[in-house]
Symmetry: C2
Subunit: 349 residues, 2 copies
Amino acid sequence: MELSDLLGQTSEWLKGTGDSSDIVVSSRIRLARNLEKIPFSHWANEKQKKQILDIIKPVVINHELMKEHLFCIIDELDEVDKNLLLERHLVSKEHIQPGGSKAVVIKNNETLSIMINEEDHLRMQAIKSGFNLQGAWDIVKVIDEDLSGKLEYAFSNNWGYLTACPTNTGTGMRASVMLHLPSLVMTNQINKVLQAIAKLSLAVRGFYGEGSDATGNFFQVSNQITLGYSEDEIIDSLSRVIKQIISQEKQSRINQLNNQRKMLEDKIWRAYGVLSNAKVISSSETIDLLSNLRLGSDLDIVNGINSRFINELFIIIQPAHIQKVAGKKLNSAQRDEKRAEIIKDKLKK
Amino acid sequence: MELSDLLGQTSEWLKGTGDSSDIVVSSRIRLARNLEKIPFSHWANEKQKKQILDIIKPVVINHELMKEHLFCIIDELDEVDKNLLLERHLVSKEHIQPGGSKAVVIKNNETLSIMINEEDHLRMQAIKSGFNLQGAWDIVKVIDEDLSGKLEYAFSNNWGYLTACPTNTGTGMRASVMLHLPSLVMTNQINKVLQAIAKLSLAVRGFYGEGSDATGNFFQVSNQITLGYSEDEIIDSLSRVIKQIISQEKQSRINQLNNQRKMLEDKIWRAYGVLSNAKVISSSETIDLLSNLRLGSDLDIVNGINSRFINELFIIIQPAHIQKVAGKKLNSAQRDEKRAEIIKDKLKK
């Protein structure tokens, strides 16, 4: 598979299927693992990092789940391609910073990606569409178990899996769910919800993970504690909270439909009107408007536009994707024009 | 003619025809006249006002130009109908305030309307589409001359026509032109233009005349001096200024097309997008967006929508018109919904 092939497909996790996919965009499980007797990537010298890559790469790319895959050395990619991977949530922001022997292996359908020489030697993540942490865990568990038979993981009987940052030690697991909560935002209930989440030792992040703001009413909720609980316990306790948030967003949508239907319809149709007519549009405005359109589709206020279509738009309107489609580097003003053109074309269909 | 028949027609002055109709919506000439030996309307008692009406009415409605007309006693109209006349620029704000024996005679095609017992006994106005002060003057001159043969006008050889307010004494003429100047507004040149106008002893008002703000980039420019110049001189000097403003707006539009075309297209198409999709919209937002759409039509950025259609929309989206179309009284929120519905329907066609 070539990197540019990604453009022609919809990531599996964007398909808009799965439980509660009107509210939960995707579910993700990430495991951090390190090899024994080699320094963590940040402390390793170039030779050691090369060694890490050489040990891990063959084991990963030869795994059954990775039969069809894309392998990239990060430093060999240009800026646009690096950001393309970031925009598709296949690598972290940190991972695309320069640094020898960083690599990523991506399963063709984008449900599974494995970063090599990120903060930890191995970062494995599985993403599923909708509310399906178990589904993501089932994938990542298989490859983790198989890899553990072929690689010597740094593991302590006292602490569990050892990681570069102590916040990952233990299970090395980060389970996260991307939620779309427009109604809780619109009705000013979101802060109460976020405060409650914080009290439960869960973290809330934006659309692009760590360090990103909540944009387009998307919130990524994940566990903060990795130590002292089993993987199943972590998934279970996160799931219980997510179920509550889902029911609050659902109830809020019902209330709005009952009490503010016109206002809601207005907001949603105006978003459609601007998206399908603008000639210049920024990505942040686009994301806000697409958020409204997604709500409109979920509430059957706008018909003929499904979640998959909108989820896909969220990805392809981002800067690197725009430039990939245009086939050349574009400055910000040029991207804003091209973005408007792409959205218009897509909505016309 | 019935008052409700107005709804089914486009006022002649909204037809979007005539010179420079891309910038000049309409041209208007208004004459103030009073009868000899009867106090001005504000000083007259009810009996005298009745007398004024009784003297003027038959002369006006029997005039050749008023063969087909609508006659209304203001106090006999309900609030919606009064405002309907105001929104169509057929009466002044002051004229629809309660007060016995106020009346208006309107020529069927709305080019000529004569208020009786406004501030002056007689206020005659002719409106023409586009830049055509002479055309309006030709109409109003005819009826004024004919009426002067049948009514005894209050006239002083020293001062000319006597009027309730000294600012109208002399010719009693107010010549005004409604300009649409979106490009001068967008490019922040409008204040310089307005300051220059003020220095020339001209007045600038908004869409609804005296006391109204400039809305939707409409500016009504009129003479302030009525004394010491002939009617032709007043028209001539106003026309010269208007021609300059027209050429400034034209030049500004050309500059914008050359240097900011995308921004302009974006603004115009977004206006179209919102107007054709909103479910709730206020009249002030509508006027602003229609202003952009009018510019888009004038610059051939939006095709298939002509000035007449947009001019008409400006009128029918106003509160009294909305209620007339709905056939019942509506509160502000209900009007905002109905307005969105009407605009959407019109734009669909």
